[in-house]
């Protein structure tokens, strides 16, 4: 369990230097997210969605401001410490699935567990359980190239689930999928949030996908332009 709120952004800015010019993908963002929330992060391309997600997962550090996730100021950690922290608290689901092609579904799901102090038997239990949750118990020995896009994404979600993270970061998880598979993945994410109380931050362009979340955050040119409580609107 993480201390509440699970995410705090305090005047977070990110500046890149590219081709002699400064690019500001995020500018003075301040926001708070509670544990168990399901937040959709929306905005046009280049609005800073992925940068925000990378800061949340400790893959990147802010140029200024504080990113506090699970009570930890990520900027205060070294690259090594952030990797260890990520392993314990965060899991990613990418648009392109990002499974390792040489590993089977089971081995992909087990991979982050090898970084944890678990026995082989415990790793096996966790991995199989995660695959069962995503409905792929019968595909454990298949390699990614033997699975459909929707199945690959489900394996990616199982990999994210296996280590029981506090925070699930999904970057356009339905972007490469057909409508049917996209619906399946969204149902799965909703179930994970509802049944397993996983905090989910979902980046998407698709308003229909975003509508599954409790809250929508809209970014434009690196600035938080709208914060919509979808859950209460629905009510």
């Amino acid at each position: 369990m993480c201390p509440q709120p699970i995410i705090q952004f305090r005047r977070v800015s990110k500046v890149y230097h590219k081709g002699g010019a400064d690019i500001h993908p995020l500018d003075e963002i301040t926001l708070t997210i509670q544990e168990g929330d399901f937040v959709a992060l929306m905005g046009p391309s280049g609005s800073g969605k992925t940068t925000l997600l990378n800061l949340l997962g400790g893959l990147d550090t802010p140029t200024s401001g504080e990113v506090i996730v699970c009570g930890q100021d990520l900027a205060a950690l070294s690259s090594h410490e952030r990797a260890r922290w990520r392993c314990d608290h965060v899991a990613y689901v990418f648009q392109a699935y990002n499974l390792l092609p040489v590993l089977t579904a089971y081995q992909n799901v087990e991979l982050p567990l090898t970084l944890m102090p678990l026995s082989r038997r415990q790793r096996r239990e966790h991995a199989l359980k995660a695959l069962e949750i995503v409905g792929l118990a019968d595909r454990v020995h298949h390699r990614p190239d033997e699975l459909s896009g929707g199945q690959e994404q489900r394996v990616a979600i199982a990999r994210a689930l296996a280590s029981d993270p506090d925070l699930l970061l999904a970057d356009e998880p339905t972007g490469d999928l057909d409508a049917h598979s996209a619906q399946e993945i969204m149902s799965l994410l909703i179930a994970l949030n509802r049944d397993y109380r996983k905090t989910i931050i979902l980046v998407t362009h698709d308003p229909k996908v975003a509508h599954a979340a409790h809250r929508e955050l809209h970014l434009e040119k690196g600035v938080l332009s709208r914060d919509v409580d979808v859950k209460n609107q629905r009510m």
Binding site: N54, D60, R84, R86, L103, L111, R159
Partner: protein, 390 residues
């Protein structure tokens, strides 16, 4: 570890070809080491407690037999024997009536004294007794006996390229009375020892002389002093001497082949450098192809150190697999199957343990060097950049 192994199998043909390349290079390296070891075998078998006395001008000049007792009287000398090069070729009759001539080393010596100086030589007691009681007898190394297909009791005919008998014949006959073995891989097992007494009495010229003296000394640290004393004793005589350690004596022969060793070492170095470049190229190509995967690993919690170890481990694994193949094949050929392409030229042909270690060390070094660039790049790679790559 599993990921490392699976990555190696990702492109099996490429991995196989790289391992093969490293293996061939290390096999060649080992083969050159075998040849160098063969050249240096005499040096390696040298003992610090043995000195050799030869004619001051050249080894081809003889020394008087009378020197033996004078050398024995020198303070610090524990034992003395002689050795005269016989220069014979074996005469094996062929089916077509011609003879097959085979070259190997033969020395006329006082066999009993010789064996006392060389405890490395092991002769069965009963065979030794027969050998010492038969002046026509000879002692053969186990390997040359096998090559000539001779056993105890057989006759061995040699044609000397130097010595004629009193009847003007260059054909000498001997009885194989004993076979010797040694416990050391660097000791020559292709020698033949014959009785000096019979040799001296039967030869047409050169009687009363010997090729060189071999002596043992009680204290190896006094070798320079004892050598100087012996040479001083015969200074200004018609047969001045040059005394040196057995190692220095044997190094003279190695020196005769000039810069051949340097040439071999240069080839070996070029081979290793090529191997390094091939391996480095493969590792960099392999790492570049997996930039995105490194990003994935980092995103799911693998540290920069994990990525570094994974890539360096793959490079090491490829190099060490190559070492296993190359060194293993060289060991199998030379040490297990006793393959020798030129047994008359290389009496000792084996892959020394230190060379195997050197080859494995080289492989490890190659793996580390070829892996360090992609591994460092992988370690420094930002996860966000890596995940953006296609």
């Amino acid at each position: 570890m599993r990921l490392l192994l699976l990555n190696l199998l990702r492109k099996p043909l490429r991995t196989l070809l790289t391992v093969f390349g490293v293996g061939v290079a290390l096999f060649l390296f080992c083969f050159l080491e075998i040849v160098l070891a063969a050249f240096n075998a005499g040096v390696d078998m040298s003992d610090a407690s043995r000195l050799v006395v030869q004619h001051k001008e050249s080894i081809i000049f003889e020394l008087p037999m009378a020197y033996r007792s004078l050398i024995e009287q020198t303070e610090g000398v524990a034992g003395v024997t002689t050795a005269s090069w016989f220069g014979g070729l074996s005469q094996e009759p062929l089916a077509n009536g011609e003879k097959r001539e085979e070259f190997f080393a033969q020395f006329a010596t006082d066999i009993e004294r010789y064996l006392a100086l060389y405890p490395e030589i092991e002769v069965p007691a009963d065979q030794l007794r027969d050998l010492l009681s038969d002046q026509m007898g000879c002692l053969l190394g186990g390997k040359i006996a096998e090559r000539l297909n001779k056993k105890v009791g057989d006759r061995l005919v040699l044609r000397s390229t130097i010595w004629t008998q009193k009847n003007s014949s260059t054909i000498w006959e001997f009885n194989v009375r004993a076979l010797y073995t040694t416990g050391s891989p660097t000791f020559d097992e292709t020698m033949m020892l014959i009785h000096e007494k019979r040799f001296d009495e039967a030869r047409q010229f050169g009687r009363g002389s010997v090729g060189l003296y071999i002596l043992s000394i009680a204290d190896p640290e006094r070798s320079a002093e004892i050598s100087a004393a012996i040479d001083a004793r015969f200074a200004n005589s018609p047969y001045e001497t040059r005394t040196m350690t057995e190692k220095a004596f044997n190094l003279q022969f190695v020196g005769m082949i000039g810069n051949f060793q340097f040439l071999l070492r240069s080839i070996g170095s070029a081979v290793v450098l090529t191997m390094l470049l091939v391996s480095a190229n493969t590792m960099m190509m392999s790492a570049r192809e997996r930039t995105r995967e490194m990003g994935i690993l980092k995103a799911i919690g693998f540290t920069d150190g994990h990525v570094f170890l994974l890539l360096i481990g793959e490079a090491l694994a490829i190099s060490l697999l190559g070492a296993l193949a190359g060194v293993g094949l060289a060991w199998l050929l030379a040490n297990a199957l006793h393959y020798n392409p030129k047994p008359d030229f290389f009496p000792i042909f084996y892959l020394p343990g230190r060379s195997m270690l050197a080859a494995v060390g080289l492989a490890a070094l190659t793996g580390l060097l070829s892996g360090v660039v992609p591994a460092t790049a992988g370690m420094r790679l930002s996860a966000t950049e890596a995940l953006r790559s296609v």
